[in-house]
């Protein structure tokens, strides 16, 4: 089953929306939130049948205070089989970037 970025992006979008809509940035609870979001997304992708893929799910949550942020990634892998999907969520109080990298294991 091919790692289709469009489908994975949908999963990410749904899960993040569910977990973060209406949530305020709170330094006490954010560490647990990022971790559980990452686990949740990883489990969802696995359940949907991408079991020949090694997965790396990265979740970034930041407070909205007008600061500048930039995130870049580069990969050294097999472009025929490996791919990634990402999604960004924002509300008044926080922003959230999720990236899922999928690498086929031969």
């Amino acid at each position: 089953m091919r790692f289709k970025p469009a489908i994975i992006k949908e999963y990410i979008h749904e899960i993040v929306r569910e977990h973060l809509s209406g949530v305020q940035y709170d330094p006490e609870s954010v560490p647990e939130l990022t971790r559980s979001l990452a686990e949740c997304i990883k489990d969802k992708v696995k359940d949907e049948g991408f079991d020949r893929y090694k997965l790396i799910v990265q979740v970034l949550i930041g407070e909205q205070r007008g600061q500048g942020v930039k995130m870049s990634s580069r990969c050294l892998w097999d472009a025929d089989t490996d791919n990634y999907a990402e999604d960004v969520f924002m509300n008044d109080s926080l922003f959230c970037v999720v990236t899922v990298f999928g690498s086929y294991y031969y």
């Binding site: 799910v57 990265q58 970034l60 930041g62 407070e63």
Partner: protein, 113 residues
């Protein structure tokens, strides 16, 4: 002792990758102040430098390099990652670096082929 040494050619050595990351960040960013117009170039340069050095190691790994640069203004930032991989061969290395005007977080994930 001998076994540990011969394994080096096919093992993700966290210390080594740590050095590569620190070197790349210091070379590319150093004491520069956060400038919105340059951030794009900095993040891409950092990850590209890291990948170049990693590929020079010649180990049988696929690598994913990630760099986040954030301006210092008192805002909070949290990042977490979870991986589904082979625990015996795959590893990751994350370095948190900062200077007077920005925070830089670089993560490298190594997946054995």
């Amino acid at each position: 002792m001998d076994d540990y040494l011969t394994e080096d050619k096919t093992v993700f050595v966290v210390e080594e990758v740590n050095k590569i990351i620190k070197c790349a960040v210091e070379t590319v960013i150093g004491e520069n102040s956060y400038k919105h117009s340059r951030v794009n170039q900095w993040t891409t340069s950092v990850v590209e430098q890291c990948l170049i050095q990693l590929s020079k190691l010649g180990k049988p790994f696929k690598y994913i390099a990630n760099c986040i640069i954030m301006q210092k203004n008192g805002a909070g930032l949290q990042t977490a990652s979870t991986c589904f991989w082979d625990n015996t061969t795959d590893e990751s290395c994350t370095v948190r670096w900062e200077n007077k005007s920005m925070y830089v977080i670089v993560s490298i994930f190594g997946l054995a082929i």
